[in-house]
Symmetry: D2
Subunit: 461 residues, 4 copies
Amino acid sequence: MKFANEKVSEIQIAYIGGGSMYWAKNLIADLALDDQLSGTIRLYDLDYNKACHNEKLGNSVSDYPEANAKWQYKAYPTLQEALTGCDFVFISILPGTFQEMESDVHEPEKYGIYQAVGDTTGPGGLIRALRTIPMYVEFAQAIERYAPDAWVFNYTNPMTLCTRTLYEVFPKIKAFGCCHEIFGTQSLLIRMLKDMEGIDGLHRDQIKVNVLGLNHFTWIDQATYLGTDLLPMYSKFVDRYYETGFEHNKDAWKTNPYTSANRVKFDLFRRYGVIAAAGDRHLAEFMPPWYLKDPDTVYDWKFGLTTVQSRVEKNAATADYYGKLLSGEEKLPLKASGEEEVRQLKGLIGLQSFVTNVNVPNVGQMKGIPHGVVVETNAVFSANSLRPVYAGELPLPVHNQVLQHAMNQELILQAALKKDKALALQAFVSDPLVTIGVTQAEALFERMLQNTKAYLPGWKL
Amino acid sequence: MKFANEKVSEIQIAYIGGGSMYWAKNLIADLALDDQLSGTIRLYDLDYNKACHNEKLGNSVSDYPEANAKWQYKAYPTLQEALTGCDFVFISILPGTFQEMESDVHEPEKYGIYQAVGDTTGPGGLIRALRTIPMYVEFAQAIERYAPDAWVFNYTNPMTLCTRTLYEVFPKIKAFGCCHEIFGTQSLLIRMLKDMEGIDGLHRDQIKVNVLGLNHFTWIDQATYLGTDLLPMYSKFVDRYYETGFEHNKDAWKTNPYTSANRVKFDLFRRYGVIAAAGDRHLAEFMPPWYLKDPDTVYDWKFGLTTVQSRVEKNAATADYYGKLLSGEEKLPLKASGEEEVRQLKGLIGLQSFVTNVNVPNVGQMKGIPHGVVVETNAVFSANSLRPVYAGELPLPVHNQVLQHAMNQELILQAALKKDKALALQAFVSDPLVTIGVTQAEALFERMLQNTKAYLPGWKL
Amino acid sequence: MKFANEKVSEIQIAYIGGGSMYWAKNLIADLALDDQLSGTIRLYDLDYNKACHNEKLGNSVSDYPEANAKWQYKAYPTLQEALTGCDFVFISILPGTFQEMESDVHEPEKYGIYQAVGDTTGPGGLIRALRTIPMYVEFAQAIERYAPDAWVFNYTNPMTLCTRTLYEVFPKIKAFGCCHEIFGTQSLLIRMLKDMEGIDGLHRDQIKVNVLGLNHFTWIDQATYLGTDLLPMYSKFVDRYYETGFEHNKDAWKTNPYTSANRVKFDLFRRYGVIAAAGDRHLAEFMPPWYLKDPDTVYDWKFGLTTVQSRVEKNAATADYYGKLLSGEEKLPLKASGEEEVRQLKGLIGLQSFVTNVNVPNVGQMKGIPHGVVVETNAVFSANSLRPVYAGELPLPVHNQVLQHAMNQELILQAALKKDKALALQAFVSDPLVTIGVTQAEALFERMLQNTKAYLPGWKL
Amino acid sequence: MKFANEKVSEIQIAYIGGGSMYWAKNLIADLALDDQLSGTIRLYDLDYNKACHNEKLGNSVSDYPEANAKWQYKAYPTLQEALTGCDFVFISILPGTFQEMESDVHEPEKYGIYQAVGDTTGPGGLIRALRTIPMYVEFAQAIERYAPDAWVFNYTNPMTLCTRTLYEVFPKIKAFGCCHEIFGTQSLLIRMLKDMEGIDGLHRDQIKVNVLGLNHFTWIDQATYLGTDLLPMYSKFVDRYYETGFEHNKDAWKTNPYTSANRVKFDLFRRYGVIAAAGDRHLAEFMPPWYLKDPDTVYDWKFGLTTVQSRVEKNAATADYYGKLLSGEEKLPLKASGEEEVRQLKGLIGLQSFVTNVNVPNVGQMKGIPHGVVVETNAVFSANSLRPVYAGELPLPVHNQVLQHAMNQELILQAALKKDKALALQAFVSDPLVTIGVTQAEALFERMLQNTKAYLPGWKL
């Protein structure tokens, strides 16, 4: 890296999963918009061709006259080459195909277990973790070998276990997991301020929150706008919209399987007195099947079950659009994605210092949670430095839920690292969504494991 | 206390719940059999008359020519008088009547939740805890005031929460909870040695075990007889009797609702590789409804559901027999109860030193469990000294189950101390036996709480 | 407090020690310079007349046309009145008079023990702590009673033990200790950047540091300017100036007993590889008498021994000047003091969020130091929120020194709270500066204790 | 091992340092006296010839008609052969020769630092640790490789660091350190009971003690005989003999450099209220030079400085006697050594269960001391099981001394493992006996290091 006149050039970023049609577009646009940073994005993907596509796309965007920075994009055939000499590593992969996802999400439905997303917790999240962890073991080993000083940004789900695996394998890694679910909750609070007080035009940085929990099962126990405590206001807001829900676009959840009316969030606030800070689809999956008992219950709580079919369709549309971008038929609009990767890069480079939420191993920032477990709290970004901020402890009833999931994820990690089916089963039957009989649960587990076995090398299945 | 010639006289023991028809008989016989100790048992009971009955019974036994020690029994009308000047306190009470127990055990059945005992965990254990904790708050306060240096033996269930309450209210109390379930497991291992190896005539002290867990959900991860590791033998033993169970008296569980064929224990061993060390009826209640789904399932697993009706009948028979003892029509047979209170007294007095299992707050003897939580492990008894022995950590899958219960019991404690219905409900819906919908669970909880409200002074119900 | 147009009015601040001639002037000027905040400073002092003087001075400054804010100053005769209804509390007192200070600093010299300041550690710091802690016990009790929600800023030395006492007595207090020694080290790094690299015009906020340790014995293990790691540069800087020292004004330390040539700091860096971040006079007192063996040694290391005589003279000059301010003969120049109290107020009020170093009880921000001990690290100030930032662990050799002092301070606290002379003596003989024989040490201790006994009510002396 | 009729044969014990003329004699006699155990002692020594001598001696003793067991002794030329297949390992070595010991003990005297033993702490203990740790690294690696399941008994000093090294290198090792200093204190209490109360004929097992601290700096905070609390009696006993001391043989300390009049122990009791439980010579070395200021001070406190010359003379006498044993001119008297190795063997084999004091890593048995540090407390010996007993926490003033030494030993360990002279120096100047100036201390350290450098392979010296 080179510093000159408040600008930094020659930044080397390895991008694992660099053949993506989704997140790559965001990154390309975000980087092109910023005028302080430049350098090379080293694209690495299991499918080298896809990485080459993004090389082409990225470089074409750098040629846009409106691009404020001219990043270079380059596909690399091996992880070793991509990593050697890099300053940063981004990891954003899709572990498995739609076929495995189909099993993760829909196989359990045959046993009466419904999941809204199926990528974080529940039967689907567990199986997805089992097939992702071996990949992260490899990444961690490669980073230890080829780029031990690089900062690693993880975007893949299951976020907690991916990040946890990196640290388990290479304890000195400088890695963290990034997730925008908290931003969504800050957005909701902004809309609340508009709705309740008529205050307009706020940005999420103005909504100060204390964050604590696990990714997608994160909580806010303090929220302020200037000197105003937002929790009493939220309580009234919940009362006002408990039955109807509160939405951006009326009834969007009926057609858009990625959204909700926030009713789950409101119900959890009534029960626990703190703000659940993730989308309802994620939150519902961490609880017993209160919100996910069956499709009717889901309908009552007003959120969507994201089917894999809907993902397939979305993917086809994206592929179509992506093709046009590649051919130049369409131009990539340069607008900010709302993600924070550019700000985080600047923080770690030393251009600014700020506080935001990340996923890193607990060193004490969350009281009462074992050290080492990956938790989500605020942290201070500064030059070559990412330090968690003390977040305290959740109210006991919530703490217990969070702890139970944290411990079950430790069990999943052990199962994956030891390739131990019995341990994995024990984690499976301990998930709060799995309230079916143990014999049935074993049958379901067996089936799901078979469906993903191509990704479980070394397991005795 | 007076020491002379290896004997100790003038021991003062306050016995709270001293009007009992059950445990008092054991104590009277055990004390009469030992020739090293003597003194006074100060009987205190909410029902003073009942305490007087035991005064009469106890003194009559002291008059038996075959009594090795002549203890004095005396009923006291107030707790203050009973405690002032005493060296030891025994607490063994029945919190509530059969009517409340009826609700604890059978009300949940209307919602499809079956419990084998209902006094430790599950809906029944929780409600029983709520009504017992206030009594223990009073005991702790009285002991702090009138007998702060006395050693306190607790025998009441729920064991963990009773003992926990004593320490919460009076942190310097010298209290511990005693339970014989481990002895039962040692007995099973003795019978195994006979069955598998033909070894006969062993006493439980010869079966060395490492104990860890919560009362009634305790585990053994190391067991030896002389130099023999008993776990591999137990594994073969489980294989041999997994289907049939292993019983003292064939099919006793069909008629005796207090017994079992150990099949739950065997199944837990297969799953976790460590020995579950409590009766099957207790163990089943700590798990999801794998063994307690419905009466048929229970039948398959070969253990009894202890109905309150059976308790009422047993009580009538006991009352009848007790009447005869009082009138002198029958004589109390002086045979050892199998409990350890006399040995423990001798230990704390300084006459001997030994290791046995007790329930005390965790100071580190169980790794990974928060300090302060009451756990069951081995401890060394010595003069005025009771020190836990480091027991280590359970395998992660079992550890997680134990931790979850430990944390839920902390929540019950908070609910009881704050008289907070919402907290109690949160603990209720977090119990693994409660897999019914949350709305139903709330209705059941409400009903059970109403049924016990006479014992919940200060609650808003 | 009232928010309107980014301004906050009607802020109520109780100022304990409000009769000060020193710190009060800084506060008055700092507040007058800022245009966002206004309200009332409630001056409380054991000497009510002195508080009245500052009332007069403060209000006169508010009348200056150049004052950006018109704060009201008002003397209160009782602590209760000053505290009731306040939003913030500042504590800045002088515990004892020059007479006690004379004993603290110079009595030990008769035994060959030299101290450069004598207010933090060493024999003088210990005795000062013994007489200050009872005052802080009172403050904490009064705050718990009259202003439990107020944020408390402590400025009194010994900083660690004053803050520690507040939390010991009232665990839920929202207090922190403020010290500018770190700012001085940041200043040194700025002068280093000028000296070594010719970089000019930097502000301390641009020098990012990770801070950890005890107040006045604080360390920096990471320091950056933009993306530049300052530790390698500091190493060269130390090499260049190790022998000569590095000063603002050449040889100032020869005449100004409050300054130094940073040689102690440089020597500590050579030994430990991390930057000692306090003035040399303070640092030297925490070590064995390497730098304080005798006046010649001190001269070699180029720092001043601050005599009480010099303080008396300084005080006379200040009193003279203060008299002129009061009479109006002189006008208080409105220039920023360099302290942070205004920024901290804004942070806690919710007007801005930032990171700076403070002294608060360890909740895990310093690894390896017992929880509860007051440590100095960075923390995030935000609306009604002050949360420590994880600082990690010092290199073991420094960690051990810090831990030893932390534990000795815990012992001093216990001695003061229990008014226990034997405990205090044990702390005294454990101080690294006390390398004289134990009998001599006892004689010195006895004498110093006698000299301060007017401030030790309830002690058996 | 083979069990039959309460006897165990074919026990395989590797004895590292098996060429000893001292401890070997004890072991041979102790084993010959016991009739329950038999097997092979595999003697390994750097000097194979010496091991062969003990082979001869041991076997000749087995031939004594009065030997109750016929152990086989066999010298092995390599560690690998000695370890492979063994059940137990004893380690008792002398790290270095009298020449290095001469430097350890007497070089510091030239700088005014006196040590009574010089093998545990202080400058001598530190240097001895530096040369011993590399040997223990090798032992640990060999045990991990060739006998990972064997129980390892360590007898070498510095006890704490030897044991600590074994666990650092091979964390799953089943090792513990044995020391008889506590037995000596129990003996003193027995003599006290005789002196104060006329009670006679007691055995140390009847004196129940709670032990906590570091080896040779161990403390007893609870001691009982039957129901009698011995601490109040000890207080009176100390008062009676504080000035004169209390000895077995009057003024023995004047001529026997291995003994004392217990005055240091009495002085420490007066200061701290708990019983220091090691010989005065050891205790004095852990404190600042209160007792070791100079030979006159030592004389006043009535204990011996063990010179290396006295060791040389003692060794010559031993060699002479040993020669006679070897030649058969003298017969080894079969009397118990007072050590516990046979009882401990029986415990771990499963023949009995008992409580005694050992040195093992802290897993929580000593509150407030970091986990992993090797501490000395009671532990339960049982079949294949050694579990620490919770010992609690020392009074804060003592706790601080113990913690300071524990942390300094961690620093020595790091220095030795990293072969880092700067770290070793930092530990050296932090020792409480080193109160000389830092420059002098550096010179002394340099000299002592040079004197032992033959044992510091890989160091840059």
